[in-house]
Symmetry: C2
Subunit: 214 residues, 2 copies
């Protein structure tokens, strides 16, 4: 059992793992997140216990699957966030990047965020909430870091940045989710509206006739 031997085995196992993940991806994107382990195994051309050897349990598989997509999304967001441009432009570009991603692959988005909606009615789905929350948390933390790093917020800036990081991510997520479902306007309009909100247009707006406004 020398080192090269072990490396070979690991390599092989890793390649297998990737194949399995790709098969799982296909099934989940086709059948929704209620996809059974049996179905995934069948798609991969093997049987259940192998999946369990590789991923431990269904949670492990889904976590691995979610991690792939999450990492890809975060990569794209980081690029928009770190681009050399002024603040408003970067905010808009980050929002647009996120929205473009969920628009381009709504299946992936639904898997990451709203796992159960793909299943048949009456199907007791597998709860992927455990894996969607981390996505938003990670985005929130990353955004917080960027804010803390580049915006001068005075005393208590670190905590403020974290609140804002999570808050802004949540705003983006909820608005995106609603938009994806109803498509009430173009992506560009949505981006602009959200950026306007962040830019204090709510505070600046006047009251409507009839008492103090919201």
């Amino acid at each position: 059992m020398d080192t090269t031997q072990r490396t070979d085995q690991q390599r092989s196992a890793d390649r297998r793992r990737r194949e399995l993940l790709e098969a799982a991806d296909r099934v989940v994107l086709r059948d929704g997140p209620g996809a059974s382990m049996n179905a995934i195994a069948a798609e991969a051309g093997i049987t259940k216990p192998i999946l369990y050897r590789h991923f431990g349990d269904k949670g492990g598989l889904y976590a691995a699957l979610a991690k792939r997509h999450t990492d890809a999304l975060l990569e794209a967001l980081r690029a928009a966030l770190d681009a050399p441009a002024e603040r408003r432009e970067r905010v808009e570009s980050t929002l647009d990047t996120y929205l473009a991603a969920i628009e381009a692959r709504p299946q992936v988005y639904r898997f990451l965020m709203h796992p159960a909606e793909g299943g048949q009615p009456g199907d007791a789905g597998f709860d992927v909430g455990k894996y969607s929350a981390p996505v938003l948390r990670r985005m929130g933390e990353e955004l917080a870091e960027v804010i803390e790093e580049r915006v001068d917020l005075g005393p208590g800036s670190q905590q403020l940045a974290r609140v804002w990081g999570h808050g802004i991510v949540g705003m983006m997520h909820a608005a995106g989710d609603w938009w994806l479902g109803e498509r009430p306007c173009s992506r560009a309009e949505l981006v602009r509206s959200l950026a306007d909100l962040l830019w204090g247009r709510l505070a600046a707006a006047g009251d409507r006739v009839g008492g103090p406004g919201f």
Copy 2:
């Protein structure tokens, strides 16, 4: 089968339904959202098929359960939203109402929003994502109405109000979720930070040294 007869039966059925919902509530709050129909039936002192007669399927039961809590929360929010005060104060009071609610009854909150986290590891929970989303949607729509009604946003105000409604609700939700998990600061501080964000402090803040800030 005259009318009074039918009314009596309906009354009885409604009362029974309420009792069942209360039992379900107890179980879900104690055992987490992975609670089985058997357990709920046992708590109510009856057996499964009766639950199915009343609620159709597990989704129906959970929907009814969620509706109760959702309605209660929305009621409280409406009160804060409609209070006679100026805008910033009402925004803060609404945020605080929401946060106070989730702080006071985290179990209910977790049931509505993150159903699976209460289960044992390895437990394939029942996905309540289908019922949490409507909560946020409803809050978003209500807020949108209030904004549209009372804030003067110029042309395209209706659409803008809806985007903002959902966006603000998402911000509140995400920040609240994070805060509830980590408790990094007091509720009042969180409210203040979020209101500041909404009041355009992000736009107003200066860049940190070293290039354009976020």
